[in-house]
Amino acid sequence: MAEITLRVNGVERSLSLDTRVSLLDLLREHLGLTGSKKGCDHGQCGACTVLIDGRRANACLALAVACDGLEITTVEGLADGEELHPLQAAFVECDAFQCGYCTPGQLCSAAGMLREPGPSAVTGDLTEDPALTAEEIRERMSGNLCRCGAYVNIVAAVHRVAAERAREVAGR
């Protein structure tokens, strides 16, 4: 057993846990935050994606005990009260899901991705921070599977928010 304290969606939580518990099981089974989903439990599907200290990560591959002292944001923590996160609003507007099982992971992954600097595997010039085209988004979101195949609308939703952010930055 291990004693850990971490902040989840802004709330400090102290727990006594078996060392084998993953961050995903901590969230779902111990804290009742069932937004983060268990798909493959091997880091391959992305349904469990959360933000750890602001960076997207597979909660199934993180041991809860190794997250002691860290800040976790789940899909439940994306919205500002009743106001949806821009990505959530865009997913609704673009019809970016069917069954919805992958959606929490898609949302957290996209939220983290929009803050990640630098090139991707499909960027031509490595020295540039490229614009988030549909091709860039598809590559950067490749850690999130959607078995319904809603990818076209997921890319559209993420692209909409990425383009809004780029316009905001350009307008400053």
């Binding site: 091997h42 960076r55 997207r56 960027t123 490595l126 590559e139 850690g143 999130n144």
Partner: protein
């Protein structure tokens, strides 16, 4: 998952002291935690080294080398301006591995020490010489389509899946290690080992040894790139990959050449024969094909992965042609 103790080290010395027999170091956990869940790895203790002060990238002034802390996350390595400018082959290799989430979690040291593996190794219901010496290798008779074509043995045909390690092997990286016996430096290639009769050992590291940093010499003059062929466009291991640097003088003669292959062996495979065949020759597709053939003369493909020899040849030629037509 088997029960284990968890300990977080405050510095390298404490980590080494905590890493008693049966213990394993934990970095990002993207491979180790998965293998523990599968029952393949059963450490009695995890020593968490992910928060050790090995989290910096230090670059020498322009024209020099760089030193990468072992706890640097893969995503931070690939996004670093100096790595992108000075070692494009390395940045591209890292970006082609895993997913955005995995790269945020995975450390540089852990990437090197992920297990050399195959689907049978990961399935504890199947025999595997890497897990239990002497049990046999079902991959040799079974599904080895994606497995090794070079340097393998009768005991094991698994491949090392890292993309980053292929670039590091091409760049003559030096791996700094601390352990119960003190500090030492292990060159790349040379960190990973071929399976021989001891496929359970992926690297030359001794029990308790901990990677603290990767040192990169100044890159030789020339252009470099990493190209990876896989079964889908993203988030898949290489069938074959090539890390290549080519420096050609004004007369068109190859003066600098570094080539390493991924997806073909138990180790990131430095293509020394190909390099030897190219140095001093006039650059061009014919020379590239001859160099590829020189290297791949060593290949001993299995019945269902001979395609990789052709793929490796074509990929070497295409990659070098991209660098210097």
């Amino acid at each position: 998952m088997r029960e284990f103790e968890y300990a977080r080290a405050r510095d390298g010395r404490e980590a080494v002291a905590l890493c008693e027999p049966g213990a394993r170091y934990l970095g990002g956990g993207t491979n180790l935690v998965d293998l523990m869940r599968l029952g393949v790895e059963t450490p009695a203790r995890l020593v968490d080294v992910s928060r050790l002060p090995y989290d910096r990238i230090e670059a020498a002034p322009s024209g020099g080398g760089a030193r990468i802390g072992a706890a640097v996350r893969n995503s931070d390595l690939a996004a670093h301006p100096v790595i992108r400018r000075r070692y494009p082959m390395l940045a591209r290799a890292v970006l082609s591995g895993g997913s955005g989430q995995v790269r945020n979690m995975a450390t540089v040291g852990g990437n090197l020490l992920q297990r050399t593996r195959c689907p049978y190794f990961q399935d504890v219901s199947k025999p595997c010489n890497k897990r239990h010496p002497g049990d046999g290798c079902p991959a040799i008779e079974g599904d080895h389509r994606n497995l090794a074509i070079i340097g393998h043995s009768d005991a094991c045909v698994a491949t090392h899946p890292s993309d980053m390690a292929v670039a590091l092997a091409a760049l003559d990286a030096r791996v700094h290690v601390i352990g119960p016996g003190g500090e030492r430096v292990v060159p790349m290639p040379g960190l990973h080992r071929l399976p021989g009769a001891e496929p359970g050992r992926d690297t030359v590291l001794e029990p308790g040894e901990l990677i603290t940093a990767i040192e990169l010499p100044a890159p030789p003059p020339g252009r470099s790139v990493y190209r990876k062929v896989r079964e889908r466009a993203s988030f898949a291991f290489a069938l074959v990959s090539v890390a290549a640097l080519l420096g050609v003088d004004s007369a068109g003669v190859v003066r600098h050449c570094k080539i390493a292959l991924g997806g073909v062996a138990h180790v990131p495979w430095r293509a020394a024969r190909a390099e030897g065949a190219l140095l001093g020759r006039t650059a061009g597709p014919d020379a590239y094909a001859a160099a590829a053939d020189a290297e791949l003369a060593l290949a001993r493909p299995l019945p269902r992965n001979a395609y990789k020899v052709t793929l490796a040849r074509n990929l070497i030629v295409a990659t070098l042609t991209e660098l210097a037509p």
